[in-house]
């Protein structure tokens, strides 16, 4: 595997922000009620992540050590505002559904964590790839959770009816408790698979 691919794969699999690092739990639980929302949120966060990683990496030698966190937050908040306005202009229905969770990308720990742990120490190209990998990892995780919740809770996928007419789907899965329980079960499943693979290696 080439070096660049490795950086991307690191974000998607080895250090997946949601399933492995357990960061950014608020949007993970709040907006994953349907696949469309999950993907929309994931891609918005990914766009902010790539842009802020690039800019912070460019400025890493200029930002004084003592005020770096404040500087990162301003940079991230700027990009979040741009995304917020773009979504409101071009995808108003999605912006409506995601509501305050779009401006709340500012306090998504994944973005600040990558700025501090990666972009402030690495070159622009590497930081962009890292942002892309982490963003895609986040999007993938949100898609998986929201697909499970939409399928079992509403009987649809991408708003297309799958089995809703035959059995009434338990709508609690798309409500708040379902969010917690589905994520808990998914992480348990991933832990189980990881443990099995580790045992198989030995």
């Amino acid at each position: 595997m080439s070096k660049n691919l490795k950086i991307i794969a690191n974000g998607i699999i080895t250090e997946n922000p949601t399933f492995v690092q357990l960061l950014g739990m608020c949007p993970t639980l709040a907006v994953t009620t349907s696949l469309k929302n999950g993907i929309g949120m994931g891609l918005s966060a990914a766009a902010v992540l790539v842009a802020s990683n690039v800019l912070i990496s460019l400025l890493r030698k200029l930002i004084p050590e003592k005020v770096r966190i404040a500087a990162y937050i301003v940079i991230i908040a700027t990009f979040v505002t741009i995304i917020d306005l773009l979504l409101k202009a071009f995808l108003p229905s999605l912006a409506d559904q995601l509501g305050i969770f779009i401006p709340l990308i500012v306090v998504n720990c994944i973005i600040l964590a990558r700025a501090e742990a990666y972009a402030s120490k690495n070159t622009v190209g590497k930081s962009a790839l890292d942002g892309l990998g982490m963003g895609l990892g986040f999007t993938l995780a949100l898609s998986l959770i929201s697909a499970v919740r939409e399928f079992f809770g509403a009987g649809t996928l991408f708003d297309i009816k799958i089995y809703g007419d035959v059995i009434t789907p338990p709508s609690i899965v798309t409500m708040a408790p379902g969010g917690f329980i589905v994520l808990g079960l998914l992480i348990a499943l991933i832990n189980h698979i990881a443990a099995k693979r580790k045992a198989g290696d030995k």
Binding site: L104, V107, G179, F180
Partner: protein
């Protein structure tokens, strides 16, 4: 909207953690012991009450002309406020400072704080409503995190399947708590 129904809504029917999914990170991260959970809740309550008041006033200055600056200005106010609280607590209440330690600066990235500031604006609350909503939403957060910490202390001693240990079982516990909180839905005065 009467003040009482605002308070009931913030505490129960629209509980920040269990219904609105705001402030999940500290809810899951700082809920291993009841004492630290209560300390975290207190600090968050103070920051959220003051942040609601200040962001309301600043938003008046921003007006509709600079509405697009809301997110940036609010997060800077919150970061500054948390820094101030940290210095104040360190100087006047060193024992509480030591107990909270690392959790204090983390309040900046607690999405409940920025969330309440944005919701106050979105819902068009006046000054008193904003402060009340901020305070009681934070108390709702405190209540949820203390109950959750109490349950987790007991779960630690239980015999749980290997792959459910730690985070998964905590999430499922939170899910069951959220079902209990659903009982409040539709409850109005």
């Amino acid at each position: 909207m009467s003040y009482l129904s605002l308070i009931i809504g913030a505490l129960f029917t629209q509980n920040f953690v269990m219904v609105k999914f705001l402030g999940i990170c500290p809810f899951l991260g700082v809920s291993k012991k009841i004492n630290t959970a209560a300390g975290m809740g207190m600090a968050v309550t103070f920051v959220m009450a003051v942040a609601s008041a200040i962001t309301y006033l600043v938003n008046l200055i921003l007006g509709s002309k600079f509405e697009y600056l809301q997110t940036i200005v609010f997060i800077l106010i919150i970061a500054g406020l948390v820094q101030f609280v940290e210095m104040f607590v360190k100087k006047s209440m060193p024992s509480l400072y030591n107990a909270l330690g690392i959790y204090l600066p983390l309040i900046t990235t607690n999405c409940a704080v920025l969330g309440v500031a944005l919701l106050n604006v979105q819902n068009g609350y006046n000054f008193i409503q904003s402060v009340l909503y901020g305070t009681f939403a934070a108390l709702g957060f405190t209540m949820a995190i203390i109950i959750f910490a109490g349950i987790r202390e007991t779960i630690d001693d239980a015999d749980i399947p290997e792959s459910f240990k730690g985070f998964p079982i905590a999430l499922i516990t939170a899910g069951l708590m959220a079902i209990a909180f659903m009982g409040f839905s539709g409850f109005t005065i």
